[in-house]
Amino acid sequence: MRYTIIGTGVAGIAAIEAIRSVDPTGEIIMIGDDPHGFYSRPGLAYYLTGELHDKALYPRTAEDYRKLNFRYLKGRVTRILREGHTLEIDNKSQLPYDRLLIAVGAQAIPLEVPGANLEGVLKLDHMDDAKCILKFSQRWKTAIVVGGGITALELVEGLVSRGVRVHYLLRGDRYWSNVLDKQESHVVEHRLKEEGVTLHYHAEVIEVTGKNNRVNGVRLLDGRALKCDLLAYAIGIRPRTALARDAGLAIDRGILVNEFLQTNDPAIFAAGDVAQVYDPITGRSILDSLWGPAREQGYAAGLNMAGERMAYIKPAPFNVTRLAGLTTTIIGMVGRGRDDDLIGIARGDSETWRSLPDAIVAQTGFEVNRLRLLVGEKKLLGAIVMGDQTLSWPLQKLIAGGADISPIRAQLLAPSARIGDIVAEFWAGWRTQAVA
């Protein structure tokens, strides 16, 4: 059996581990066009802030790869020829496959305004982008950041920590309005201001201006003009579906796969950011851009490619991130609607977070440590934990485990309830029962 994996991210690596766990001898080939191979893309944020060296972002050694016994090819797959079970590489050579995994991830949506191709216009998609930001930030000291979600703040914080003066432009009146509530946005914005970031609200860039082919400012929809040396943007990502679309595979926002990560061609699977995965519980197909699910999907896909039958059941999506230096865990369903700063989905994001049905909010907290719970009829639907993370792990388990919160629902919704204490106490009992 010949297994071929397109893409060098975590979904692909997890698939190889899964295949090897059941098939020690089959031939495995991984092919990718990212010159840096497998590294921690989310870790680029910490590389930008200077918390670690770029070499530390590579989790595996050559010896680790040797043990997995697969062949790595650097190249770009230009076509999938489904009838002949063959890939076309770099428009010329051909590579046969028996089972194929497409795990090519997603890419940044480009900024489409005049001047967006000028030198000094930056994104944070790959290792090379991060290196470019670091190179430019040594020389240029005023930046404008546009966009939303986690990546926009990673850009803001990375640039600030490199001594760059940052103006952060928001199209609306607050940060990440379809995931965070008003107070949470306010906490983040307040902390950014304390770090010296200048925030501009209702600011939509309509043109990047430049001189000698280099950015020197932006013009806004309301006529304002701002000067800058760098413009960094993070307005969302888009699954890299072109290859699958050209091959006639079923596509919606991502490559459509069933709960076995299988496309409408039984020999072809997809996993990670490129895959829009069917969830048998809700009956919906969802896009995530999260490291954990990408790994789990890759693993399940690998097993299924090797002839096992393992359904991927989507857990309550969650992510841990730092927003303006504040550790924040987002679990389950917490918001709804759209955010004008983003198109579609962002990195570190899940569509599920914005699918909140009617729920009642219970919240507590002061300035830094905040806890917001989305309380359904019998279950917790979602939670946001900012600052102190003591409760994030219990909440993750309670929400994923669908714990029946009927015994504490009224207490949680009482005025001025100490919801942290109530959850902690409930967790202690639930955990004991779950173990028993």
């Binding site: 870790g43 918390e51 670690l52 989790p59 730092r322």
Partner: protein, 85 residues
Amino acid sequence: MGIFRRDTERHKVLATGHVVPDSSRCVQCGICTYNCPIGIDVRAHVWRAEAVTRSECLTCGECVARCPRGVLRFEQTDLFVGRGA
């Protein structure tokens, strides 16, 4: 609950505990491994969802404190019973 009580607890954990991961929070950035003063590949333990039970581990807490995503915690383990996570 005073500070002293917490401090005693902390010493107890440092003496008899291990670094234990919650792998689902990890993105393999490597800050833990990068900051380990004796070069333990903490990240690889997290990938495999294993506690750091190596005898060289000083339980100094660098990896626990530096992890930006709260992956690692100390957990008291009974050395005479077992060494698992």
